[in-house]
């Protein structure tokens, strides 16, 4: 049976890889966490102005988990994010402008207004968007990493599931399949205490999610998900294992969902003291700021500069997103199949002329980019 460790701290004395990062990369971690938070705050403002179409999902207090894990991947690796992994997507190259356009359902958004919020991807940049049915991305990422293995490519895959999503058949079949095939896949269970209103005690009888690693015969590790360096460390170990041909890992990140399931959710079921305690004592950005200031001797001004840069970037992206066009209704007809390239409008839709619609590219991709299109 592969070794199993409860916490990184209890591990067999491996070096703290996070500590080996140079200062630039350490500040990078800060930048991505701050960008995640600021961008989500901007989205809240836009949501209140009813400029967001549909629901808004926050990762407040979980930024370290997303950013630290994605940071452990190489450019060529592929991850599949969840709704609370905005940070992972940003690290992988998704831009604030794309995120804002998505949430506002714009015509030149990465999905051309077809899919919700951050449900988009880009196989070039290395992320594949989730779909709503929970757990489904685990089998899909098994297939992606199977391809890496078949082709002898030096690439790794990473997929996130919530504590709630571990209860799905898709999660089970996917991780088991990957484990048996020995695929280079890291499965991260983000244990944020809640699945919508359901506490983990109603989701599993296991003492901890990392225990599931034993049942799948894979490497397992549990880590403090709000310690970005520890998250990086733990993920890096699993990624290195995967790259070395040692197969699947199941990592459990201990964190907490400080906002409701979505913005409309008033969290009536969450003990307010619990939320406050995590906010006061265990905010991943606050904690990391202290590490940077106290241990790394970074100047406060350096952090302020990053904060200011983030605000500038988000401001600029907001302006650009708000100026971007709504989709044209007829765009709905394009690209259900490669062939035919467009559906015919139903006969009672007079004047729906789609002859000039062209064809969309779709050869392992995930993001619509007008400049690369044959469409008008």
């Amino acid at each position: 049976m592969p070794p199993r460790r409860r916490r990184a701290a209890e591990g067999p004395g491996s070096p703290h890889l996070g500590e080996l990062l140079d200062l630039e990369r350490k500040l990078g971690l800060y930048y991505w966490m701050r960008l995640t938070r600021t961008l989500e705050e901007r989205l809240v403002a836009l949501y209140r102005q009813t400029k967001v179409v549909g629901g808004l999902f926050r990762s407040l207090g979980q930024e370290a988990d997303a950013v630290g894990s994605a940071f452990a991947l190489e450019r060529r690796d592929i991850l599949s994010p969840l709704i609370r992994n905005l940070g992972s997507m940003l690290v992988k190259g998704a831009t604030p402008l794309e995120i804002l356009k998505q949430y506002m359902a714009r015509g030149d958004s990465p999905t051309r207004g077809r899919e919700l919020n951050i449900h988009f991807g880009d196989t070039d940049r290395g992320f594949i968007g989730q779909i709503s049915p929970l757990g489904d991305m685990v089998p899909v990422m098994a297939g992606v990493t199977m391809t890496f293995k078949m082709r002898g490519e030096d690439r790794v895959g990473l997929v996130y599931v919530g504590d709630g999503a571990t209860s799905t058949g898709a999660f089970h079949e996917g991780i088991n399949f990957a484990a048996v095939q020995g695929l280079p896949l890291v499965v991260i269970v983000e244990n944020n205490g809640w699945a919508y209103s359901t506490p983990t005690s109603k989701q599993t009888a296991a003492a901890q999610f990392v225990d599931k690693a034993i049942g799948y015969g894979v490497y397992g590790e549990q880590v403090d998900g709000n310690d970005v360096l520890a998250v990086y460390d733990c993920t890096k170990r699993a990624v290195d294992r995967a790259r070395a041909g040692e197969g699947v890992s199941l990592l459990e990140f201990m964190t907490y969902r400080r906002k409701g399931h979505a913005e409309h959710d008033n969290q009536s079921y969450q003990p307010p003291a619990e939320i406050e305690r995590w906010a006061a004592e265990n905010d991943p950005i606050d904690r990391y700021v202290r590490v940077l200031l106290d241990r790394e001797k970074v100047e406060q001004s350096a952090l302020d500069a990053i904060d200011a840069r983030v605000v500038r970037e988000v401001d600029a992206a907001t302006d650009a997103a708000e100026a971007s066009p709504m989709p044209h209704p007829h765009d709905a007809l394009l690209g259900v199949y490669a062939d035919p390239p467009a559906e015919r409008p139903l006969w009672y839709r007079e004047g729906a002329d789609v002859s000039g619609l062209g064809r969309e590219r779709a050869e392992g991709w995930g993001t619509w980019d007008a400049s690369k299109q044959e469409t008008r």
Binding site: V53, G54, A105, R106, G107, R112, G113, R114, E115, L116, H119, I131, S132, P133, L134, G135, G164, A165, S167, T168, G169, A170, A195, Y196, S197, T198, K202, Q203, T204, S268, Y269, M326, P327, H328, P329, H330, D331, A332, L333, V336, E343, P345, L346, Y348, R349, E350
Partner: protein
């Protein structure tokens, strides 16, 4: 509180409440249906009233929820389970079509259970929170399917579904949840499964539909009356399996022109089945082809302009009806 208007959603809740009070074998399972009262608050208050033994928050496991309901049904219980969005019923497709639907026939095991959930579009829910998955289940012998359009029917059909000795899939249109209201008939209001309703009487042509598009059909009928002087009959199917052939054939014989409207995608949607039945049984009564107004065959996109293009709209119904009338 006779005489008070309540919403479609409240009507469903009232039915659940009354049935739980009436029959101790009725209980609920689903994700977040307890303290939280469900994603749309349909089950709000039921936990407080009936306790954790009868309002059960489950793991995110649609296969297990449906399978456990079947097992409880075999033992004489009457489970009512919620899909947080009906779209996730796809995860339980095997359990429903292979296990539940066949249990009585192959093993004499009853599955008196209801699978209910928020369905349908027009709400900017995107491809996985807007589905109308009825076609795959109408196709399955052993299941019943209802899809009410009014608050009164939502209540009455839910009560019938819970009392039915077989599995009933109960689709609730989320666009109607809070937009449609009705005054509940006094007493034990049960609407029989399998009976359509004439939502509007007419003589020139018939629109056969169900769920949210009933309201679009009624709007269209009003416009057609005002603008074209056409008398349009609107049939609200209410139950999709078993179909009310009698009501369908009666309206065909009356108006001789039929438009079938549904929000579901076109190919393989229930309109095809209805057309085939009309064709077989009322061919001589048809003065024009049966026409269909449906969604386009496209996964439902999320941006308003796109969703509105893909889904059938009142204008479409008006246009199609005019063509039919002029045939």
């Amino acid at each position: 509180m006779a005489g008070t208007e309540i919403t479609y959603l409240e009507a469903i809740r009232e039915a659940l409440d009354e049935e739980m009070a009436r029959d101790e074998n009725v209980f609920m399972m689903g994700e977040d249906i307890g303290a939280f009262g469900g994603a749309f608050k349909v089950t709000e208050g039921l936990l407080a009233r009936y306790g954790e033994q009868r309002v059960i928050d489950t793991p995110i496991s649609e296969i297990a929820i449906v399978g456990a309901a079947a097992g409880a049904g075999h033992m004489g219980m009457r489970p009512v389970v919620e899909m947080q969005f009906i779209d996730f019923i796809a995860n339980a497709y095997d359990m429903l079509t292979n296990y539940v639907a066949t249990a009585r026939y192959r093993a004499f095991l009853p599955c008196p259970m209801v699978v209910r959930g928020p369905s349908g579009g027009y709400v900017r829910g995107g491809p996985f929170h807007s589905q109308n998955p009825e076609a795959g289940f109408i196709h399955t012998p052993g299941l019943k399917v209802v899809y009410p359009a009014t608050a009164e029917d939502a209540k009455g059909l839910m009560k019938a579904a819970i009392r039915d000795d077989d599995c009933v899939l109960f689709f609730e249109h989320k666009y109607l949840y809070r937009r449609i209201k009705g005054v509940m008939p006094a007493g034990d209001h049960v609407v029989p499964i399998g009976k359509a309703r004439t939502a509007r009487e007419g003589t020139d042509l018939s629109i056969i539909t169900y769920a949210a598009t009933v309201h679009k059909a009624l709007e269209a009928a009003q416009r057609l009356a005002a603008e074209d002087g056409l008398s349009v009959e609107v049939i609200d199917l209410r139950t999709l399996s078993p179909l009310d052939d009698e009501a369908i054939f009666a309206t065909v014989r009356k108006t001789n022109r039929v438009l079938v409207v549904h929000e579901d995608t076109r190919t393989g949607g229930i309109a095809g089945e209805i057309t085939a039945r009309i064709n077989e049984s009322c061919f001589a009564h048809l003065d024009a082809p049966v026409l269909r107004v449906t969604a386009h065959d496209i996964p439902l996109p999320y941006a308003p302009a796109l969703e509105d293009f893909v889904l059938p709209q009142t204008d479409d119904i008006v246009l199609a009806a005019r063509r039919l009338a002029a045939w």
